[in-house]
């Protein structure tokens, strides 16, 4: 296939570029990364920075910006609804993270054995994660409708009913947390399964010979060796909880932040301020505080996992 001309060209090429072969690799590298790097910069990096810049402006109805300095931050300090949102967010995270950890690990231990039955079960536990959060919110809202929803009637029959899942400020957030757990637990089960697979069988065999029971084996082998996985799960679920990654869609459809702001996590309140009242500057100020909080969490996460490489050394 190779013509003489091509061969000659290649030889010339090789001769000319021997010195700059390194530079050619550099240029190729930059060009290959360019589209993604540019896109991430424009649609993730710049927004993060812009969040800070926007926070010192006030936006009028016609899209005009006027510099207001720290006014938005002062307003935030004096806004009881901001503090309420911060509290609800913290409560959401504090409930979600341990529950998700327990359910994810519990399910993983349940279906840990690799056989056909467990493979089917894993898929069943994971299936809710395939449905969109909007649909999840709709279906659960239907199931907990006061008095006539299937879950409402079931809890009433068990004698723990009589309350409104979404209408009572004391239960609305818990309901949102439980729906989030239902949606997410299959995903975390998978991550735990990955972690469990990395624990060498021999440790368990040795422990069994020494007479360690199931609980002892879990406590002294599984849990300690699962530390990297646990760490990953806790950090990721915490960041997701604070950022409202899943909570937003569920809350937007189920409660819109109500009743009495009981489910108004910060991100829902920020969204209302920005797209409900056009208070872009104020929303950006609140979002900046969130970004800073998340950056600190990410930095700690990053340092502790050696630059996100986990156990891959290259």
């Amino acid at each position: 296939m190779t013509t003489i001309a091509e061969t000659a060209a290649r030889r010339r090429h090789a001769g000319r570029t021997r010195l700059s072969a390194k530079h050619r690799e550099w240029i190729a590298g930059y060009l290959f990364v360019l589209p993604d790097a540019l896109g991430l910069l424009v649609f993730l990096g710049v927004p993060m920075a812009l969040s800070l810049a926007l926070s010192v402006f006030e936006v009028n109805g016609f899209g005009g910006y006027s510099f207001v300095g720290a006014k938005n931050y002062l307003r935030m300090w004096n806004d009881p609804l901001f503090w309420k949102g911060a509290k609800v967010t913290a409560l959401y995270a504090v409930m979600l993270v341990p529950l998700l950890y327990a359910c994810g690990l519990g399910l993983a231990l349940l279906v840990q054995r690799t056989d056909r039955f467990n493979t089917v079960m894993r898929s069943m536990f994971f299936a809710p994660h395939m449905v969109s959060l909007v649909v999840v919110a709709l279906v659960w809202q239907f199931m907990v409708v006061d008095k006539i929803g299937v879950v409402s009637r079931l809890t009433a029959a068990l004698g723990i009913g009589g309350f409104s899942f979404l209408g009572d400020p004391n239960f609305a957030l818990i309901t949102i947390v439980l729906v989030s757990v239902w949606f997410l637990m299959g995903f975390y089960m998978l991550i735990f399964l990955g972690g469990l697979q990395d624990i060498p069988r021999q440790y368990y065999e040795a422990a069994m010979i020494d007479g360690a029971g199931a609980i002892a084996r879990f406590w002294f082998i599984t849990l300690p060796l699962l530390k990297p996985t646990s760490f990953f799960v806790i950090m990721v679920s915490m960041v997701a909880a604070v950022a409202g990654a899943q909570a937003f869609d569920i809350i937007y459809v189920m409660t819109k932040g109500g009743p009495a702001n009981a489910t108004a996590v910060l991100i829902v309140y920020i969204y209302q301020q920005a797209f409900g009242f056009g208070a872009f500057g104020y929303a950006a100020a609140m979002a900046s505080i969130l970004v800073v909080a998340l950056m600190i969490v990410t930095a700690v996460f990053f340092a502790l996992t050696r630059g996100g490489r986990f156990n891959h050394e290259q």
């Binding site: 690799e25 190729a28 589209p35 349940l110 994971f126 360690a212 996985t229």
Partner: protein
């Protein structure tokens, strides 16, 4: 169990019994997990009067709810929009991410590590946190109420780049070296060596990207007000505010929205679960 050392081994019948109970517990938990989805499909086939009856199997199953929903609301249009957006994002994202992943794993250039770490650091920035400034940027670019606005910002995420880079790190070096000796340039190596080798991970990622975009709600909600551009998730959220009392219609609509992804899952469950299992940790 009366010997000096406690024996960890059970008799054969005990093992069978324990395993049987274990399987029973697992199966009932799995059924409880799936119950909301069964319930949704069940109501979708029930006439309005039966919506709140407690039977899982409809007494008089009907397709009327589906017919009503599909004729009252342009769900076909919404689904077409969702499909176009998800497919476009998936194709472009895979193209860009394989390029970036290849370079970050295999090419040597100054600043590579810094670049990778910067990309990785955006891993945990989720959409809700930057939605306000992102809206401002996309508005300034004139992409509000457009397919471009739905598609372009959704392309870029660190997850796919990270996963592909990890995959390329594990490929043997000899394959590209052979190509290089044959005189292939970097683009040629990428196109005819790396891409064909990426087929398994690309199909897994394609499913994940498609699903994520089919299910996305917040971004389309924020930037589209024109009903002609609505994706299916917006369609159903809006359907809810119009038909909030007609649960049989709502569950039919929810089923219509959920079924495509559930079917995808049934077909590709192994790829989906394997790719997620190895995503963050290895």
């Amino acid at each position: 169990m009366s010997s000096k050392r406690p024996q960890p081994y059970f008799s054969r019948s005990q093992v069978t019994l324990v395993r049987g109970v274990w399987m029973l517990v697992t199966a009932s938990l799995a059924f409880m997990t799936l119950f909301p989805l069964f319930w949704m499909v069940s109501i979708a086939f029930k006439p309005a009067a039966e919506s709140f009856s407690s039977n899982l199997i409809p007494q008089s199953p009907t397709l009327d709810n589906f017919i009503y929903v599909l004729t009252a609301v342009p769900f076909i249009r919404y689904m077409t929009n969702s499909f176009l957006v998800s497919a476009a994002v998936t194709i472009v994202a895979l193209f860009f991410h394989t390029m970036a992943g290849y370079a970050l794993a295999r090419l040597r250039f100054p600043g590579r590590e810094v670049l990778f770490l910067s990309i990785f650091s955006t891993f945990l920035v989720s959409l809700p946190v930057i939605i306000v400034p992102l809206f401002v940027i996309v508005k300034a670019m004139g992409m509000l109420n457009s397919y471009a606005g739905l598609i372009i910002p959704a392309i870029f995420n660190a997850f796919g780049i990270f996963l592909l880079r990890q995959y390329y790190l594990s490929l043997p070096k000899e394959i590209e070296e052979a190509a290089r000796i044959d005189g292939a340039g970097y683009w040629r190596i990428y196109w005819s060596v790396i891409l064909p080798l990426s087929r398994p991970i690309m199909s897994a990622l394609a499913i994940l990207f498609f699903l994520a975009n089919w299910n996305s709600f917040l971004w389309p909600l924020t930037i589209t007000s024109d009903p002609n551009l609505w994706v299916v998730q917006l369609g159903i959220a809006n359907f809810k505010s119009q038909y909030s009392a007609s649960w049989n219609y709502m569950m039919a609509a929810a089923t219509i929205v959920a079924i495509p992804t559930l079917i995808l899952f049934v077909i590709f469950q192994r790829q989906i679960m394997d790719s997620l299992k190895t995503s963050g940790l290895k």
